[in-house]
């Protein structure tokens, strides 16, 4: 059953109808949000769908993890004042918000690119993102994001888990822990990383489940070759042997079970083997982008050298959420957005790879009526400084955590909105500032969850995605 066939109402019906049983879903609810939170509740060691705290706007999430730090002043946050200060020191009134000890040597540098207004909303977008610009009316741009660390590693942990060091569950793990998944034949949380394994900073740590059971961690699916570790045998044998072996396992398990009635652990294990068999079929089908017609593939840039793989992964993401996968992440290759050197060349390269596929995904979701149910997130762990790094001719920009831009679309987010402001040169967020935990809480809110109620009892401590940081849902961008 695809997501397009499930409206909000039937979604809830499925949670508590005969499919999984009223008793079970109620039980799971109690485990998660029960009356006696201080005793360690038994973990829900499954990904069955669970009811959120209130009616959700979004049912699934696709996140573009633009790691490295996309440069806000060159993409979504035009700053005419950069002309005025170009080649000069950045005024201290703007830079004083930065953490002590940070080097501020670079001179202010204007953007190399022109901005123009797009869509009915008239939001400003740089010429580097012509395709995204066409979908701007679907998008809420948050120009006032800020983070707490200027190094990739801690900032990525912060962005993914809410804290600056490893060990905590990532947002995707929290979401699947909170909501489970509608499709039991596919992983609930799928990661579509670079097919050549050129991962961004922190690698697989970006989708780990921390102290949540490993069941909630992201499953990395390859867009080329074998999609998932062990989805198919990594040895060869005749098909008849595979079938005979499967029959033998089934027969032995049935005999084993008959002698051991009332053992749920055996039931779930047998169900688990059946799911493994179904997943081999369903995952293969879900990831087959050539099931799409040619027009669709062309729209995503499949077949064009620069966009081919990114486009394929965007199609896969859509096909996965259509089949009930809860959370999908798409990562660029390595640190594409970490434009320290020659931003004039490196930033356009990062944009070319993803602009067309990203925009196609938004359009495709919209045309299929899925955008209301699917929340799309775009952005990095931080942004970049408005100053030049290195000699002007080949200058890049250094990390800028004090103010940067992310965007959201669909799933209960207002389109064509610009939220928050940075200062005159785009150094720090000054108006309607949005912290990482505000951003987390907003995403959970759209999925029907209260960030204070979604917790995990860890040795008597109530761990949350937003931890104990002061947090506010960005209600201004919600429909």
């Amino acid at each position: 059953m695809s997501l397009s066939n499930i409206n909000r109402r039937t979604f809830f019906d499925r949670v508590s109808d005969g499919l999984y049983g009223v008793g079970l879903s109620t039980l799971l609810m109690q485990d998660l949000y029960g009356e006696k939170p201080h005793h360690s509740a038994p973990l829900p060691t499954n990904i069955r769908p669970r009811r959120p705290h209130f009616a959700p706007k979004a049912k699934a999430v696709i996140q573009f993890c633009m790691q490295g730090g996309p440069s806000q002043v060159d993409l979504f946050d035009p700053k005419p004042a950069l002309e005025k200060y170009h080649g000069k020191d950045a005024p201290e009134e703007f830079t004083k918000v930065a953490a002590a000890g940070r080097s501020m040597k670079g001179k202010v540098m204007r953007s190399h690119w022109k901005f123009s207004q797009h869509g009915q909303s008239g939001a400003w977008v740089s010429e580097l993102l012509p395709h995204t610009a066409k979908e701007i009316d679907q998008i809420a741009i948050i120009r006032s994001m800020y983070s707490v660390h200027e190094n990739h590693e801690p900032a990525c942990y912060k962005w993914q888990t809410g804290e600056t060091f490893p060990g905590h569950p990532t947002m995707g793990a929290w979401i699947t822990y909170g909501l489970g998944s509608v499709n039991q034949n596919l992983p609930a949380y799928v990661v579509l990383a670079d097919p050549d394994n050129k991962f961004a900073v922190n690698g697989v740590e970006n989708w780990m489940s921390g102290y949540l059971p490993p069941l909630f961690q992201g499953t990395s699916i390859k867009s080329e070759g074998t999609p998932m570790l062990h989805l198919k045998p990594d040895y060869t044998e005749p098909a008849g042997v595979t079938a005979a072996k499967r029959n033998l396992i089934n027969a032995l398990d049935q005999l084993h079970k008959v002698k051991r009635p009332n053992q749920p652990v055996l039931d779930s294990r047998i169900a688990n083997y059946q799911m493994a068999a179904r997943m081999q079929v369903e995952a293969t089908e879900a990831l087959d982008v050539f099931e799409e017609n040619e027009a669709t593939r062309v729209m995503y840039g499949v077949g064009e050298k620069v966009t081919d793989n990114f486009g394929k992964r965007c199609i896969m993401a859509r096909r996965l959420v259509e089949r009930g996968v809860r959370f999908v992440q798409i990562y660029p290759q390595g640190q594409k957005w970490d434009n320290h050197n020659e931003i004039k060349k490196t930033l356009p390269a990062a944009c070319r790879e993803s602009d067309k596929p990203c925009a196609a995904l938004l359009r495709d979701l919209r045309q299929r009526g899925l955008l209301d149910d699917v929340l799309v997130l775009w952005g990095g762990e931080f942004g970049r400084l408005p100053m030049a790094e290195g000699d002007y001719a080949k200058a890049g920009r250094d990390h800028g955590p004090s103010g940067f831009t992310n965007w959201m679309a669909g799933g209960g987010v207002k389109g064509g909105v610009v939220h928050g402001e940075t200062d005159d040169i785009g150094f720090g967020a000054v108006k309607d500032r949005v912290s990482i935990q505000d951003w987390h809480a907003t995403i959970l809110h759209l999925l029907g969850m209260n960030h204070e109620k979604l917790y995990f009892d860890r040795n008597g401590l109530h761990e949350r995605l937003t931890h104990t940081h002061p947090t506010r849902v960005v209600s201004e961008i919600l429909t």
């Binding site: 060091f165 697989v204 998932m228 040895y235 005749p238 051991r260 997943m279």
Partner: protein, 795 residues
């Protein structure tokens, strides 16, 4: 009293922030010294005294002429801070400090302006509500009467059974039938050694019809070295054992941690009394005089290695940007929580930022407890975990070079020879010119590599003195509250804390005193918490289900009297862990079958009363080690450096095999990242900081792994060829395969299915025109058995 000081602190902050005049009495050394601790003492303190200046006390400051009383602007200390000469720009971030803030500088100025007033700290103890001491787990356990029942009079029943039966009777229940012999053998063998029984052990047990047959099995298993590997692993989970530092994505390898792993496994195998085991791990350094290099012996080394327990927490402080005081405090708090939660069942960590909300542990208790460890864990005089590029020159490592005298002399002798050769070469180099220099340099480098270092131990040791400990208000070291001295949490004692007499010079004896207090036979928690943990590993659930929380919000015990009986029994039997295993494994409760009767399903659905033995899935190590053992590819070598893992495409990680196969999981490098995929798939936890209780998930990656992984497939091939060498005829082969993997004889129906499948599989291989069809067909049957529920679960 406590509130008074806090309110006062709060006022001070407000006053300073708002620029209000501050009266002389309100700024004292307790405001100034913490600022200096945070910003200056790393260079001017206990170990380093740059410019012969020690800024830890007023007296030492005056001795070093750091300030002119009443004249901040003429004080060298202030001048250097203002001019940014101190702390030096070059080393500031390397040393893990930040520049002094204007508020802090103002505190120093004010203190000096007012003549550097000192006030005596009143160490009056916190008052404690007598009611709060009445919680069940704070009472000394007493041996309760064993309930007497007709049924429990039978010789096969132990006191454990009597306590359990008493509760079962209340519900009209009893134990279920006894497990079959081979079922019991499989259960107890996996349980005590983490490995399956061999076919020989199976037939031996079946043939032994004496009444002591089962007892003999238990003795055999407890005497095997595999026991220590299995039960050491349980302890290492709790201790958070890891071969890497964690905290950072690089996850640096933590050398020498394995020595602690070996210590633990050996302690279990030798049945080291639990009290001794604890004392060594908490204060081993205070039990021996390791400074006397000629008196170093195995005992000295063992005691130092034992303290590795308190060095297991994730620790990123090798690298500069994460070596701040806050990062160090995280490490200390993790270690204290591992100890307090794992060994005492106390959620002490809750009192780090505020008084505990439910248990009678105040924030002052927490910091007084931390002060016991201060001479070893001093966030202001920190020992770094390991060398790192760009590390601060003033940093010291936490490794002790300790060697047996003969070994030390051999190394010294060896090095002397090398050094004399080096000297010759270096002298020669000075007088050499031209191309010959290159050759000489190469020779010098070759010699340098040959210099041997002393064996190192990653230990925790007392350094004789420490910085003062202040309560960190809201957990923030920037908001110091009252000064505290080392103390046991108030709820447990009215006596003041006195250090124990440590062996060797220059040691406080504080941790030794704590260890002795913890292992007092009358201690209300230590024995209870430990027997509960052992019980959990045997029965799947603790008598107190919250293993690390015996406080108010922990789960109450299902069988309080049984818990106390076991605790007292442990202490009275010289804290012998093997005695406890025997007691439990011999009980009728442990020997019962896992079959659920309809009555039990109704009245004891969660098995809280133990109306049957719980069925369980093999854990990660049992799957790994068990499959290798069955296939004859398990290398049983004990101890030493861990084997490396091999990482393929970042997501598939296996162990590197040696010639005789793979070693048991615990001997494969236990990193916080790069966990072996098989182990991770079957729920091996990552240690952040430790694992109190493992989860047991059922996820689709598990069947996919066992079905599709080529190593597992290869093991099935290996097993099949072993079996064909040992047997005649295919039916015999199938039966042997079944016995080896499932550890019993197949039923008639099962055998029929197996033989039919074997024929069918052979036919398939013939049809596919493959060679060696018989061997391959048997391998496929073995592979199916590896994937069967019967292998993966223990009845």
């Amino acid at each position: 009293m406590l509130m008074g000081v806090r309110a006062f602190q709060f006022f001070l902050v407000i006053a300073l922030a708002s620029g209000l005049p501050v009266s002389a009495a309100s700024v004292t050394q307790h405001d100034a010294v913490p600022v200096l601790l945070r910003r200056c003492v790393m260079c001017h303190g206990q170990d380093l005294k740059e410019g012969e200046l020690d800024l830890r006390t007023k007296a030492s400051m005056l001795a070093g002429k750091a300030f002119v009383s009443g004249k901040p602007d003429q004080s060298k200390m202030i001048q250097r801070i203002v001019s940014r000469e101190c702390p030096p720009d070059k080393t500031i971030s390397m040393a893990g400090i930040e520049r002094m803030g204007s508020r802090e500088l103002q505190i120093l100025r004010d203190w000096i302006s007012f003549g550097a007033p000192e006030v005596e700290q009143n160490f009056e103890r916190v008052k404690i509500d007598p009611e709060s001491r009445k919680h069940w787990s704070f009472q000394k356990p007493r041996r309760p009467e064993v309930p007497v029942y007709k049924a429990s009079l039978a010789t096969s029943f132990t006191p454990i059974d009597s306590f359990l039966l008493a509760k079962l009777k209340e519900k009209g229940l009893g134990f279920t039938s006894e497990a079959e012999k081979l079922t019991l053998l499989r259960r107890v063998t996996y349980d005590l050694t983490g490995l399956p029984p061999t076919v020989e052990e199976m037939s031996q047990f079946i043939q032994d019809e004496s009444p002591s047959a089962y007892e003999k099995v238990i003795d055999r298993l407890l005497a095997s070295s595999a026991y220590g590997v299995r039960w050491g692993r349980h302890w290492l989970d709790m201790a958070g054992y890891s071969d890497s530092e964690g905290k950072r994505n690089a996850d640096m390898i933590r050398n020498y941690a394995w020595k602690y792993r070996d210590y633990v496994i050996k302690a279990f195998n030798e049945d080291k009394p639990y009290d001794e085991f604890l004392i060594e791990q908490i204060a081993g350094d205070e039990l021996v005089d390791y400074a006397d290099v000629d008196a170093v012996n195995e005992n000295v080394i063992e005691k130092l290695v034992a303290t590795g327990f308190l060095r297991m927490a994730p620790d990123g402080t090798s690298a500069n940007p994460v070596n701040r005081v806050e990062d160090r405090l995280e490490v200390i708090s993790d270690e204290l929580q591992i100890l307090a939660g794992g060994v005492l069942g106390l959620t002490m960590d809750c009192a780090r930022c505020h008084d505990h909300k439910y248990d009678p542990i105040s924030q002052r208790d927490y910091y007084s407890f931390a002060a016991i460890f201060k001479a070893a864990y001093d966030e202001y005089n920190w020992l770094t975990p390991q060398p790192f590029r760009n590390q601060w020159a003033g940093s010291t490592r936490r490794h002790l070079p300790v060697a047996m005298p003969a070994e030390r002399r051999a190394i010294e002798l060896h090095n002397e020879k090398i050094e004399s050769q080096l000297k010759l070469l270096e002298d020669k180099l000075k007088s050499t010119k031209g191309p010959a220099r290159k050759d000489l340099k190469k020779k010098i480098d070759e010699q340098k590599v040959k210099i041997r270092s002393m064996p190192l131990i990653r230990a925790l040791w007392d350094r004789g003195q420490s910085s003062p400990t202040y309560v960190n208000l809201r957990g923030n070291p920037g908001s110091p509250g009252v000064l505290v001295k080392p103390a046991i949490p108030r709820v447990f004692t009215d006596e003041s804390f006195s250090p124990a007499k440590a062996v060797g010079k220059n040691k406080t004896g504080n941790r030794l005193a704590l260890a002795r207090w913890m292992t007092d036979p009358d201690h209300p928690l230590t024995a209870r918490v430990w027997v509960n943990r052992v019980w959990k590993h045997h029965f799947g659930k603790g008598i107190v289900s919250s293993l690390d929380n015996f406080g108010k919000l922990g789960a109450p015990p299902t069988h309080p009297k049984l818990l106390d009986w076991l605790a007292v029994d442990l202490v009275e039997n010289n804290w012998s862990i093997k005695h406890l295993h025997r007691l439990i494994c011999m009980s009728r409760a442990y020997r019962q079958s896992s079959v659920i009767s309809p009555v039990a399903a109704k009245h004891d659905s969660e098995n809280k009363l133990l109306s049957r033995m719980p069925m369980r899935r093999l854990d990660a190590e049992e799957v790994h080690d068990g499959l290798l053992a069955v296939a004859g590819r398990l290398d049983m070598r004990m101890g030493g450096e861990p084997d490396e893992v091999q990482v393929y495409g970042r997501s598939y990680i296996t162990a590197k095999p040696g010639e005789s196969g793979w070693r048991r999981s615990i001997y494969i490098r236990q990193r916080r990242i790069h966990t072996m995929t098989l182990l991770q798939t079957f729920d091996l936890p990552s240690m952040n900081p430790n694992c109190v209780e493992r989860v047991n998930s059922t996820v689709v990656q598990q069947p996919l792994y066992l079905l599709h992984d080529k190593v597992i497939h290869g093991l099935a091939r290996k097993l099949a060829s072993n079996i064909l060498n040992e047997t005649k005829g295919m039916e015999e082969a199938v039966i042997l395969a079944y016995k080896k993997i499932i550890n019993r004889t197949p039923t008639r129906k099962e055998l029929k299915g197996l033989v039919e499948s074997l024929d069918e599989l052979e036919r398939q291989f013939v049809m596919a025109k493959e060679t060696g069809q018989k061997n391959k067909a048997l391998a496929a049957v073995c592979h199916a058995l590896f994937n069967s529920a019967a292998f993966l679960h223990v009845d």
